[in-house]
């Protein structure tokens, strides 16, 4: 059975970009801020990667520029939503529209230029002896391992440290957190910016590894799928890992099935991830219809001290 490791490997490489974006989204939402700018931020991350890498040929500088650029978008979202108390949905939509436009504008010069990048791979020779696991896990690139480590670190951070509990408090009940002496604004700013940077890394990974040349709108809805995955993962970084790989698998399924020449037009195969997102969310909604929601309780609500309840 050669096909199972192949499918899993494809799921992992397709899901890693999603995973970064989901983790970023979880950081945002745990602090009580919806960030619907994921798609736009990923696009900016991707286009900046393309531009900077073609210029400098240096992975570190590229990553640094991506982090700065997308961190700045996060700052913008944070300023609008936290300081100015703007509607988070509209602000996120604005980031997506702006990011889509700006990335197309900036990317005109590098559109279609192949990016000659080789991401360092982690060779685990001792794993090769084990049949399936060896095929899957040896030779994964360094960012895949980084994303797996990041999910674990974030899980520990959110559920096992005092900071993480403060974060939960800020997302659930900001006025109580404020009374406890936690700075709600500082927590929110920090997590929105850090989360946006992770979304930028998602774009970076997408263009550096998954499909290494810039095409306008190349994320094709992955940012929105990532937002859906936050709900799917119940705001838990470890569940996000599996959710992202599941959707990564669906994504690459479209490619693979074309090779096997089923009698289905490729357009319908490409619809699978989008349709699956809706159906899975419906299933989750139906399954949890009588359960209390695990969503951060003040998600989407700006906090201001003068009007607390």
């Amino acid at each position: 059975m050669e096909i199972i490791p192949l499918i899993i490997a494809a799921a992992i490489s397709g899901g890693t970009s999603l995973l970064f974006a989901v983790l970023g989204g979880i950081l945002n939402e745990k602090a009580g801020v919806i960030n619907l700018g994921t798609e736009g931020i990923m696009l900016i991350g991707a286009v900046m990667s393309a531009i900077v890498f073609i210029q400098t040929n240096n992975l570190f500088i590229t990553l640094a520029v991506v982090l700065i650029a997308t961190g700045f978008l996060g700052l913008l979202h944070a300023f609008l939503c936290i300081t100015l108390r703007a509607n988070q949905t509209v602000s996120g939509l604005a980031i997506t529209l702006f990011g889509t436009g700006l990335s197309a504008y900036l990317g005109k010069s590098v559109a279609g230029v192949p990016i000659p990048v080789s991401i360092p791979k982690v060779e685990l020779d001792w794993l090769d002896a084990i049949p399936i696991i060896g095929q899957i896990f040896s030779g994964l690139d360094i960012f895949i391992w980084l994303s797996i480590a990041l999910s674990i670190i974030l899980y520990v951070y959110m559920y096992k440290t005092a900071w993480g509990l403060h974060l939960k408090a800020v997302g659930d009940n900001p006025s109580t957190s404020d009374a406890m002496g936690i700075s709600v604004a500082a927590y929110r700013y920090f997590h929105v910016i850090a989360g946006s940077m992770l979304m930028g890394v998602a774009g970076f990974y997408l263009i550096m590894v998954y499909s290494p040349n810039w095409i306008e709108g190349m994320t094709s809805g992955r940012g929105w799928i990532a937002i859906a995955l936050i709900i799917f993962a119940r705001w838990n970084p470890i569940y996000a890992l599996f959710g992202a790989y599941f959707f990564g698998g669906l994504d690459s399924l479209g490619f693979r099935m074309q090779i096997y020449e089923f009698n289905i037009p490729s357009y319908f195969l490409k619809m699978i991830p989008y349709a699956a997102t809706i159906f899975i969310l419906m299933f989750i909604g139906w399954k949890n219809r009588n359960k209390p929601s695990v969503e951060p309780k003040s998600l989407g609500n700006p906090y201001f001290r003068e009007q607390r309840l």
């Binding site: 619907l36 736009g40 913008l76 300023f79 609008l80 100015l84 108390r85 703007a86 509607n87 949905t89 509209v90 602000s91 939509l93 604005a94 980031i95 529209l97 702006f98 990011g99 889509t100 436009g101 700006l102 197309a104 504008y105 005109k108 440290t161 005092a162 900071w163 509990l165 009374a179 406890m180 002496g181 936690i182 306008e216 094709s220 809805g221 929105w224 799928i225 937002i227 859906a228 709900i231 037009p265 357009y267 319908f268 490409k270 619809m271 989008y274 349709a275 997102t277 809706i278 969310l281 419906m282 299933f283 909604g285 139906w286 219809r289 201001f304 001290r305 003068e306 009007q307």
Partner: protein, 372 residues
């Protein structure tokens, strides 16, 4: 151990607000009840957005004033430009009305793009599957089917939302991608014109299937439909019981629920209208402008409509102005391509406008207050 901070006494920080500006005898105070901004907020936002994008133009090594001048001339400088601007404004206005009615009750429909495409597909399906209809019936049937197709696509968002608690933002966006793929499948596959030299589009419509043009320009009868939709929208929202219930639902869902308003029913109806208006716009576009269903029938009208609606603060009359304005940005965007700016420049400008608008609207809720 590190949780110790939670047991410390309340910080004195709470009282420090008045001192934050040092010796300045004023402080900024936020007033949540102040009606956010007035007519000048959108105008200032547009100016600020133009200035921000001017920076990017400078980076591109061009003179912003020349670029904006060129855009203005392209959009309004000739009768052709003006009619093109209005041709673009028609679908924007209809889609804008569609999303606005959903936003009125805080349903974040961003699926106007997909609903538009479905409307276009629906209207085209009439021409393909009913080739022997009496000529005069074509336009009404196409419009109705276009509206219905958009409404059904809207329901595909509303039903998961009402019965399965699926966030409508995500489902409506996913449906956009599905609609786009469906369009590609049809125009590259079964519906492609066999005599079309591989052009991804259907056969051209017969004269009966085309909307009448106004005065020999590219302007078409859809303009009348769009303006009628504005009047109906304004009337129903302001003067009917149903409109009142919608406004109540938008202002205070809890009070609306306690008053016995059936929220589920309202969401379903509103999403049908919202999708239907976008589908109607799609039907008008194929029969009034394109004359056939083809690849890329919508250059993002559904997304741009979000800005049209917000710029007008969801006011139907205001949307007439904002749709023409955004239409002029699109047409102006085409004309700056001749001097080397990509057409995506106008998308960037639209995003920047939306940013400045929401920022400005919230900023206008702050007021300077004298500290005693």
């Amino acid at each position: 151990m590190s949780q110790k901070s939670s047991f410390e006494p309340l910080p004195v920080e709470l009282k420090q607000d008045n001192k934050k500006l040092g010796n300045v005898p004023f402080r900024l105070e936020y007033d949540a009840h102040k009606k956010g901004g007035s007519w000048w907020v959108p105008i200032i936002s547009i100016i600020v957005a133009l200035m921000i994008c001017a920076v990017f133009i400078l980076f591109n090594g061009m003179n912003p004033i020349t670029v904006y001048g060129k855009m203005l001339a392209g959009a309004f400088g000739s009768s052709f430009g003006i009619s093109e601007t209005i041709v673009k404004a028609i679908p924007l206005l209809l889609c804008g009305l569609g999303v606005a009615i959903a936003y009125k009750i805080a349903i974040w429909n961003i699926g106007a793009e997909g609903q538009f495409i479905l409307g276009a597909i629906g209207a085209t399906a009439v021409t393909i599957f009913l080739p022997n209809l009496p000529g005069a019936l074509y336009i009404p049937v196409m419009m109705v089917v276009g509206f219905a197709a958009g409404a059904i696509w809207g329901l595909c968002t509303a039903i998961p939302r009402t019965y399965f608690q699926v966030n409508e933002l995500i489902s409506s966006l996913m449906l956009n991608y599905i609609a786009l793929l469906l369009l590609d499948y049809l125009v590259y596959g079964p519906w492609r014109d066999p005599q079309g030299f591989n052009f991804p589009g259907t056969q051209e419509f017969t004269p009966y299937q085309l909307l009448a043009s106004l005065g020999g320009t590219r302007l078409h009868f859809g303009l009348i439909f769009a303006l009628a939709a504005v009047i109906l929208f304004a009337f129903f929202l302001a003067k009917t019981r149903w409109g009142y219930e919608l406004r109540l639902l938008g202002a205070n869902p809890v009070a609306a629920k306690n008053a016995g308003i059936n929220i589920t029913k309202h969401i379903l109806i509103v999403m049908m209208i919202s999708g239907g208006l976008a589908g109607f716009a799609g039907a008008i576009e194929v029969s009034g402008v394109a004359g056939r269903l083809m690849y890329g029938i919508s250059p993002g009208y559904g997304y741009t409509a979000i800005i049209v609606a917000w710029l007008a603060k969801l006011n139907p009359w205001g949307m007439i102005i904002t749709s023409v304005f955004i239409g002029s940005l699109i047409v102006g965007g085409y004309s700056v391509q001749t001097i080397g700016l990509p057409s995506s420049f106008s998308n960037m400008l639209q995003g920047a406008i939306l940013f400045c608008l929401i920022g400005g609207e919230m900023l206008s809720k702050f007021k300077l207050k004298k500290v005693d």
